[in-house]
Symmetry: C2
Subunit: 204 residues, 2 copies
């Protein structure tokens, strides 16, 4: 199996999200043109993407919504539960803990880590907040798939080091800092300032 590009993966996840809505509406089949209409992409691109996961469409009918969703999820996720560990329970971290969308997408936050004593040992939306020092132990026990960094910039590299040391190979970084990690670790940077400005600049 060849490595899928980051772009195809993001679109595939968008298809899964869309199919989820359609399935909720009891829609049994969907054409690439309908998916294109909902997602804002083109029908050809959607067919091309889907074909790279193995063919599942029926000419003149389209795709079976449930089957397509399962095909995509199985192909790109491989497992039923993706475990997340969160570093930093400030405003953004708390927002992530309370984010309602994760359940549907097989995502579970298994632990959060903080240095602020007032927050340690609290339970937020069912997730336990631990002292940062407990991270190595806890990460060793429950192998997590993704480490999320929502700590202040000064501590973001420390958080990254903890995540890397635990063997986790994927990081989502909200700190406006470029982190140093081994090349086998994948980082997805989300710098809110850059995202906002990029949205604006693109139209200038």
């Amino acid at each position: 199996m060849r490595k899928l590009s980051s772009k195809i993966i993001s679109r595939a996840l968008l298809y899964v999200r869309t199919l989820d809505v359609l399935i909720g509406k009891e829609k049994k089949t969907v054409s690439s043109a309908e998916l294109a209409d909902i997602t804002g992409l083109t029908d050809v691109q959607i067919r091309k993407d889907i074909s790279s996961f193995g063919k599942v469409g029926t000419p003149r009918v389209g795709y079976d919504t449930g089957e397509l969703k399962k095909t995509l999820e199985d192909f790109i996720l491989h497992k039923n539960v993706i475990k997340v560990a969160l570093f930093g329970v400030g405003n953004l971290g708390t927002a992530i803990l309370k984010y309602p969308g994760f359940g549907k997408q097989r995502l579970t936050i298994v632990a959060a880590f903080e240095t602020n004593k007032k927050k340690i040992d609290k339970l937020i939306n069912g997730v336990r907040v631990y002292a940062l020092e407990k991270a190595p132990d806890i990460l060793k026990k429950s192998r997590v798939d993704i480490g999320v960094i929502a700590v202040p910039s000064e501590y973001s590299q420390d958080a990254a080091d903890l995540i890397v040391a635990s063997g986790t190979k994927s990081i989502v970084n909200f700190a406006p800092v470029t982190l140093n990690v081994p090349k086998e670790v994948n980082i997805r940077d989300i710098d809110l300032s850059i995202e906002f400005l990029a949205a604006y600049c693109y139209n200038q």
Copy 2:
């Protein structure tokens, strides 16, 4: 002037962020190789990007940090203050209001809108929270550059409609929904579930 791609813009903003740090450290000049080392990109790409904004480097010395930052900012931002209006003051919206990074990047949140009466008229981090119904009036008065959608999915299209009606041409959307807007409006979607899963999938 030709239209810059979204990718170049994001990288340029990353250079600005990096230059900001270097300037804070009193560094006067920087080479493309150093920038490459800090940002994780290649030196050639950085030179190519910079050259598309007009040449400013000196052979054997590199770029003047202050001058380069100014060139990039002036070229892509065009103005000194980028105004943001926020829709939704839930967990994520509050995190955005309290996000410390905006000041440095010429971003200012000028108003927030909510339906929850308990939050209306409050001041969060210096930003006034208004009833959603006030949005058309307020947006008309203070022309904002970016509308940020952090409301529950069900109301995200309504928020988008208000933003579009006000004449704002850039939207950052955190709701896991594909919004319908005229083609001259640029939307940047940030679906946390998709971002998290994409970070994970890319390594599988």
